[in-house]
């Protein structure tokens, strides 16, 4: 099995008739994901190469039994679809959209949390569980390999880089996910580490952090006290100057907090194997697995 998404996931795409929505819905289906429907208001009855389109999420859930949603809606309007998914009963919401005003995300997230649902992102490449052939996101599926290592990251391409290394080193993945590069995102390192901790099919975790915020420090705290599987980590952004957003809205060192050094120290102190050279992440994990 895997965490959050698996072969039982019934996935819809909100914004399916848009360019990205169509392209990635089909790419997910091609990978093996169970894409049961899509939502675009006013396009009910249409079909995206066989995937039925509905006017509302509620309707889509009623007709298809969907429990996971992949959102491609422009940033200015992305808050409402998240709420719509929650109200319609969707359990896992993957929001790809980049550049959502943080107060919109914060407001939607409050509802997501109080209803006990899971939001991945926004500004995430999504989530993939290779063994279950379930991909809900925009990552290139072919670089993944079924296996027993979890990957969590705040970055998209950096995740691909690491997954590629793992796969080339013969290390398969249970679930790989991007938490999103925004200042406020749904699931955190801690939330997902807890899930990996419980997942009998995950043996170890790669954690890819970056500057900004304190998610890595919180992860370190949790790993130290409760996590019982090996963790390899890499933290990007040691060269980042303070006060600048390094591409991600969330990757900013502000007021002296959020710098890479503190995160690396916290993770090391918690017993995490922190790799300085990005290109060594795959081999580091490979060695740890061989040793155990």
């Amino acid at each position: 099995m895997a965490i959050l998404v698996n072969k039982d996931s019934r996935i819809i795409c909100q914004g399916i008739t848009g360019r990205n929505g169509t392209f990635h819905s089909l790419a997910c289906r091609d990978y093996g994901s169970n894409m049961v429907g899509g939502v675009t208001p006013g396009k009910k009855g249409a079909s995206v190469e066989g995937i039925p389109v509905f006017n509302t999420v509620r309707e889509a859930v009623r007709e298809t039994g969907a429990n996971v949603s992949l959102i491609f809606i422009p940033a200015a309007h992305a808050k409402d679809p998240i709420l719509e998914a929650v109200d319609a009963g969707i359990q896992v919401i993957v929001c790809i959209t980049e550049g959502i005003p943080p107060l919109d995300t914060a407001s939607a997230l409050y509802t997501v949390k109080s209803e006990g649902r899971h939001l991945i992102g926004p500004n995430t490449p999504g989530i993939i569980s290779p063994t279950d052939r379930c991909k809900v996101g925009i990552m290139p599926g072919y670089i993944h390999k079924p296996g027993r290592v979890g990957v969590i990251s705040r970055s998209g391409t950096l995740t691909y880089e690491v997954v590629d290394q793992l796969t080339k080193a013969g290390v398969g993945q249970s679930t790989c996910m991007g938490l999103g590069g925004d200042p406020v995102v749904g699931l955190s390192f801690v939330d997902t580490l807890k899930m990996f901790n419980e997942d009998p099919d995950t043996d170890a975790v790669v954690l890819i952090g970056e500057i900004g915020g304190s998610a890595e420090e919180q992860a370190a705290e949790y790993i130290r006290s409760d996590f019982n599987k090996p963790v390899v980590a890499y933290v990007a952004g040691r060269l980042a100057p303070p006060g600048k957003r390094m591409g991600h809205a969330g990757a900013i060192i502000s007021g002296g907090s959020g710098a890479a050094d503190g995160k690396i120290r916290a993770l090391s102190d918690a017993g995490v194997h922190v790799v300085e050279n990005l290109t060594m992440v795959g081999s580091a994990m490979s060695k740890i697995l061989e040793a155990s």
């Binding site: 107060l103 950096l158 880089e161 980042a240 390094m246 290109t279």
Partner: protein, 392 residues
Amino acid sequence: MNLHEYQAKEMLATRGAPIPRGALAYDPLSALVAARKLKTDKVVLKAQVHSGGRGKAGGVKVLSMSDDIRSAAASILGRTLVTNQTGPEGKPVSCLLIEEAPIIDSEIYLGVALDRSSGMVTVMASPAGGMEIEKIAAESPDRIFTVKVNPLRGLSAFQARELAYNLSQDPNVAGQINKIINILYDIFVSYDCTLVEINPLIISGDRALALDAKVNLDDHALFRHPELEKLRDRTQEDLMELSARQDGLSYIKLGGNIGCIVNGAGLAMATLDLISLHGGSPANFLDVGGGASEQVVSDAMSILLDDPRVKVVFINIFGGILRCDVLANGVIKAIRHRGLQLPVVARIEGTNIAAGLELFRESGLPVEIIPTLDEAARIVVQKAQTLASKAS
């Protein structure tokens, strides 16, 4: 986007928060005139730049009316202020705020920010104003009072009141602080800010007064507030970063000589780290984004080719949505258009890799393709070092 102190104060005053009397001056003579108009003994001249730490850098002067205000103004205006926050290039001072200098009985800190871990807007208040909140947090965390605001409910009246009574037991003063907290919160949420701060809010006699103020806006929400665009001061921003942003690129100038093009913010940061690990020094951070078009890649490439500091270009792409063939076409287009004076080292991987490699091969351009990232970084650093030592 950041605002100037005077702009932040105008926002506060418009909503009813008290600020010192003052005026702007763009030349020494009007600074003197403005100071005289205040009809007060002591005035303060404050350089309007997008940076804290102005005082230590000589950007703030407290003067009595018998001092030579004109010379003092002249000594700040027109110069470039280098503070502990501006970086070595500093910020140009083209505008002074001339204000009365009220008597300070005590200094309070008030700030509003979005707490990332809870996802809640947080109002912070401390009776230890006048120093940076991070310093207060480090030195006397028990003197910071915070309330987290439920995003659906907004700031409740009692929350602002609680904070106010934590800062003052005098109902009159607490009442004024209470009102100002509500104003800060309103500004924060109605303009989608990243930070709204009054530091210090001074108590002068029975009156609270915002002596310094800061309003930083979230770029991702500026589309909702087009009226704020006119507050932008382009002299305070890096023009290359600004124009790159308009092209949909994320560009940040750094001090080195290796020009980098990467897709994805995380990979871009990691690329800088890797260059540094191998002893090199990047000239920039440049993220073309996940779904860049051929034109965007070409624009990004041109930015590097135009930068005289750049000795070598490093292209590091892991194609996901961005296909390697699109990347190749963009790079080739830019090189053909500009002509190539610099060595280019590329590591490309991911979607449509074969087509991308073929395009580079067909182009006949001297782009060196290195298959592994670590190796590519090592070679780039080597080349940069060789070229730099030749030049010197």
